[in-house]
Symmetry: C2
Subunit: 282 residues, 2 copies
């Protein structure tokens, strides 16, 4: 290969900067798949892929690509534009991991699990704080939640190890079938390998691939967090959190008047929030 | 009990502020025991106890008490005054836990263990980074080091759990007899209870009580870190760290000239350092 052709082929690689700071090649396939997941057809996803790709520049952040994509989507379909902000909306649940646990409990309840969160229970050796206990069809699961407010942080091997050791100490006394690690970010390769080897389930961002990832659980029943709605500013977000309302879906149970009263909102805010929740469910 | 006597008895309680921020009663017994441990007689410890106690004021920090004590000790016995700074000297090994591992390896070597630090080895499921592997009399130990630069941080249950899970994954392949958790601070009650229940050894600050705590291992063979010496400023500390010299004891292997040359010190610095190391061993 000559110097000229090497430099030419180099120009065809578009490097982007992930939240972790890692620089990777922009993968059109993964990008377009994420658009299909929120409801675009293959053709629509390809069109937006083209549009965005022409607008990229070297080492652009994934955060910036998300923003650009949401802008383009907003012009085409408001519901899909909102859904595309899921990862960021989950980050807005924080800062305390406690809210992620409550949100995940609400998600699991929608799948028919009976859940309890933040339970202090005794194992063979010591007392543990278990984030969620989920029960369905007489099977009981010990769920450890690992919540990161920094999208670049991965749940690592240590998290997988202590989750498993906790399960070992608890399982006989409480008849747990399986340990589950739920996280809003990625997991390291070692954490995934260990979990597979030990028969521990991981439900994380983009993991596992086929229909069991965190976003799949949320998206397939439209269990979006309320923080995904455009009108939910920090103040309103806090009001919902304090009032234990975590699912956007739950806004539809209220009339604007009742919503405004219960969460101390202005009525025009309540009207807009309910309207956005309706768009999201459409 | 009348109000008067209640208020009187209240005046006899001297609250001090621990590094963790916790406020506890000043315990003369524990305080005097720490003085005996570095070499004072019961009577001498009691005398200094009296002197310091009169000088205390409400909610004084343990840091401040340490300073006051070192001042008093310096007047009486320089060697003992230096030794009294052990906990702080270990904190100065940092910031990376890596240096604590190297120092602990040096300490274990002095007890006849063959040690390797920072080893990447495969278990049944995954590869692990093991801080220290220590071997003696055909028995092999997996040692996890937990180093805190904040003296108030305790090693908690999660640390004990992942250490044990790591041991489980490694033990058969590498014939480890026991997992050991070594830490430069305290452990939480739950971490200690779990370790006892699982047959895992913890060696930490002030734990276990009888002759097997971290400070005991160090003090009974005078294996003080070089950072304990008064002349070791941050710059010199870094030079020794970079040159893998961790024990004050090891300074005695050098002539001032050779020490100065090897670590790029001025000769008068080298002379003073060696002198301080001699005082410490006396």
């Amino acid at each position: 290969m000559t110097c000229v052709s090497r430099s030419l082929s180099y120009n065809y690689v578009m490097l982007i900067t992930k939240a972790s700071g890692e620089k990777v090649e922009f993968d059109r396939k993964i990008y377009e798949a994420s658009l299909q997941r929120v409801g675009l057809t293959v053709e629509e996803a390809r069109q937006i892929g083209n549009e965005i790709y022409q607008d990229l520049h070297s080492e652009i952040s994934t955060e910036k690509i998300l923003e650009k994509t949401q802008k383009v989507l907003k012009r085409k379909n408001q519901s899909i534009a909102i859904k595309y902000g899921l990862k960021k909306a989950i980050m807005r649940l924080g800062p305390a991991g406690y809210y992620f646990e409550k949100y995940m409990s609400a998600v699991l309840s929608a799948y028919g699990y009976k859940t309890k969160y933040n339970q202090f229970i005794y194992g063979r050796c010591v007392q543990h704080e278990v984030d969620i206990i989920a029960e369905r069809d007489r099977e009981k699961f010990m769920i450890e939640c690992k919540y990161h407010t920094n999208p670049g942080r991965k749940s690592d091997l240590k998290v997988a190890l202590y989750t498993y050791a906790r399960f070992l100490d608890l399982k006989d006394k409480h008849n747990f079938k399986e340990p589950v690690l739920m996280t809003n970010t990625l997991c390291t390769t070692e954490a995934i390998r260990y979990a597979k080897c030990m028969g521990m389930k991981i439900i994380g961002w983009h993991y596992p691939a086929r229909g069991e990832s965190l976003e799949h659980y949320i998206e397939s029943k439209k269990l979006y967090p309320v923080s995904i709605l455009g009108s939910v500013n920090n103040q309103i977000n806090k009001k919902f959190r304090d009032g234990n309302l975590f699912l956007a879906l739950d806004l539809l149970k209220y009339t604007p008047k009742r919503l405004a009263k219960k969460f101390h909102l202005k009525e025009h805010q309540a009207v807009r929030l309910i309207k956005e929740a309706q768009i999201l469910q459409s």
